[in-house]
């Protein structure tokens, strides 16, 4: 019989270990879950945290190893490692937020945590994709798991309605993305990102197909990152989904979608930038404005944070219109992710069954009853507004400065006006907590250790990343440089 010689497969195993760890871990949790009652779901959550930790340690070993696997289908460079670490952190905090939430709401732990891990696998695949098929497969692995998670509280009409809306519009957008991939394949003759770039540089691509394909891919990614006018699903899905999953959707899904979006467009479709940067300009302006203006009138905190998530996708898109600002986008996404995770963690503490405790009015007087929690929420709101010295401020500074450098002054003016508008609703929460009288009733179960640790880590990250931004910005720069290839190659493409 033939023996399978793995060495002949021609790829290094090491850079794939973070992905393998998550996939195996998800399967183990499903198997272990069979032996457990649903009440023990917190134990499975701890196991999921362990899996994420193992995957994180594996990722640490891949830093600096700029390799590729499966003939370039997976790129395991520092760019992948950067997003893997942020996605693992977002997932770990989401799992920590879920520990008591899942048990209290009677959610089956095995399916819940393994779906979270399968979604993480899809997200990591999206970050690592070197090939449009992997972009598609990663996106779907992530999305299908998250559709199920959004509707996980099956008997709750709001949860299943949220899942249905997310599913229908998500599948709809997948159709656009896949058609875009098909047309780009038809135009360039390959689905390999490297080959696509080479075909564009050599002007060997058939123009009408390429332009249409790029346009359709913008629509597909626009849905996933929740850019206006493709954002209609976002507030409904975020409001109806279980809150820890909302936190996961607002951070993990968005990070992964941007990881792929930035890599595909800014690096590999970069030579065709003239065809898409104008579209992104309009998309960015529209997304920021719609997100911020509609957020003003929200009275439900989950909906308000959903529109805030839309607005922040707009700020990140501002960075994508500027050729030199990819690193700023990466930094911005990290700052956004921690502030949003923290804000949703506070929402979980105040949330009670049957959707009570979700109005912004329910936050009145929180500063008296829970001063620590109110202080943390203030940090997150200020960071999302962009107040120095917090992470959100530095992120906006980097993104806007890069956009000004590449001559997008009108767009930055729109962005700054939008930041000013956003201050109104973010600070509205702070005013409610500190200056208005009220008696928020908090069930002790809402303030579980997992949630409080999540709040603390997010608050620490928002402050640290803001006060000492240099190491994180350098990591983002290195990551992007690794993805863009060695400098010699970069200049060759610039010519």
């Amino acid at each position: 019989m033939n023996t399978l010689n793995l060495a002949n497969l021609g790829f290094a195993w090491l850079p794939l270990l973070p992905l393998i760890a998550v996939a195996v871990g998800a399967a183990i949790i499903l198997l272990v879950g069979v032996r457990l009652e649903d009440e023990d779901s917190a134990g499975l959550g701890i196991l999921a945290l362990g899996v994420l930790l193992v995957s994180f340690v594996c990722t640490l070993f891949t830093i600096g190893v700029n390799a590729e696997a499966f003939g370039g289908a997976l790129l395991t460079d520092d760019y992948t490692a950067f997003f893997e670490i942020v996605i693992q952190a977002a997932a770990a905090i989401s799992v920590a937020l879920s520990l008591d939430y899942a048990a209290d709401n009677g959610l089956a732990g095995a399916e819940y945590y393994s779906l979270v891990l399968f979604a993480v696998l899809g997200m990591m695949l999206m970050a690592a994709a070197g090939d449009l098929i992997i972009v598609f497969l990663g996106l779907e692995t992530m999305s299908i798991a998250v559709y199920a998670l959004a509707g996980f509280v099956r008997r709750e009409a709001r949860s299943s309605e949220a899942a249905l809306k997310y599913f229908l519009l998500g599948a709809f957008s997948t159709g656009f993305l896949l058609y875009g991939i098909a047309l780009i394949y038809g135009a360039t003759g390959t689905v390999h990102l490297d080959g696509i770039r080479a075909a564009i540089v050599a002007r060997a691509a058939s123009q009408p197909y390429l332009e249409l394909g790029v346009g359709l891919m913008v629509i597909g990614f626009g849905f996933k990152v929740a850019a206006a006018p493709f954002h209609a699903w976002t507030p409904d899905a975020y409001e109806g989904a279980p809150t820890p999953i909302t936190a996961f959707m607002a951070t993990g899904v968005k990070l992964a979608a941007f990881a792929s979006f930035v890599r595909v467009f800014m690096i590999y479709l970069g030579p065709a930038a003239a065809q898409w940067s104008g579209v992104l300009w309009v998309l960015a302006a529209l997304t920021m404005t719609v997100g911020n203006v509609v957020a003003l009138v929200q009275d439900n905190i989950k909906r308000m944070l959903a529109y805030s998530a839309i607005a922040h996708a707009g700020y990140a898109l501002v960075g994508m219109t500027a050729a030199g600002s990819a690193a700023a986008v990466l930094y911005y996404l990290v700052a956004y992710a921690f502030a949003t995770l923290g804000a949703f963690a506070v929402v979980i503490v105040l949330e009670r069954r049957a959707t009570a405790g979700l109005r912004i009015a329910d936050y009145r007087g929180l500063a008296q009853t829970r001063p620590g929690l109110a202080a943390a929420m203030t940090l997150f709101m200020l960071s999302l507004t962009g107040v120095p010295p917090l992470a959100g401020f530095v992120g906006k500074l980097y993104v806007f400065a890069a956009a000004v450098d590449s001559g997008h002054v009108p767009l930055v003016v729109i962005a700054v006006i939008n930041s000013a508008i956003s201050a109104y609703y973010y600070i509205g929460v702070i005013v409610a907590m500190y200056m208005q009288e009220g008696t928020p009733e908090i069930e002790p179960s809402g303030a579980s250790p997992g949630v409080l640790i999540g709040v603390a880590i997010a608050a620490l990250a928002v402050v640290l990343i803001g006060i000492a931004p240099t190491p994180y910005m350098n990591a983002a720069r290195d990551a992007f440089a690794a993805a863009a290839g060695p400098p010699a190659q970069a200049t060759a493409f610039a010519r």
């Binding site: 009409a157 159709g175 394949y185 409904d236």
Partner: protein, 100 residues
Amino acid sequence: MTPLNYFVVLSAVLFVIGVAGVLLRRNVIVMFMSIELMLNAVNLAFVAFGRQLGNAEGQVIVFFAITVAAAEAAVGLGIIIAVFRNRMTLNADELKLLRW
């Protein structure tokens, strides 16, 4: 050999019919069927381009796309059943517990 353009035009027409179905029909199951039609239109485009270019990538992607569509159908129909049990309706206009 049938020219490539015939296939591309047919796939574009099918795709547009699918998009129109999602946007115009209000029954959730019919909307979902329209999405499947969109995906199959894309599959036709992949196969046609693959044949024209003479490489196998186009055919291979179709297998991935079919598999993904099947997984999506499994989860999607499960969600639709959960919604129907809760609400006893599949009309998209009546699902406005969350403001659409």
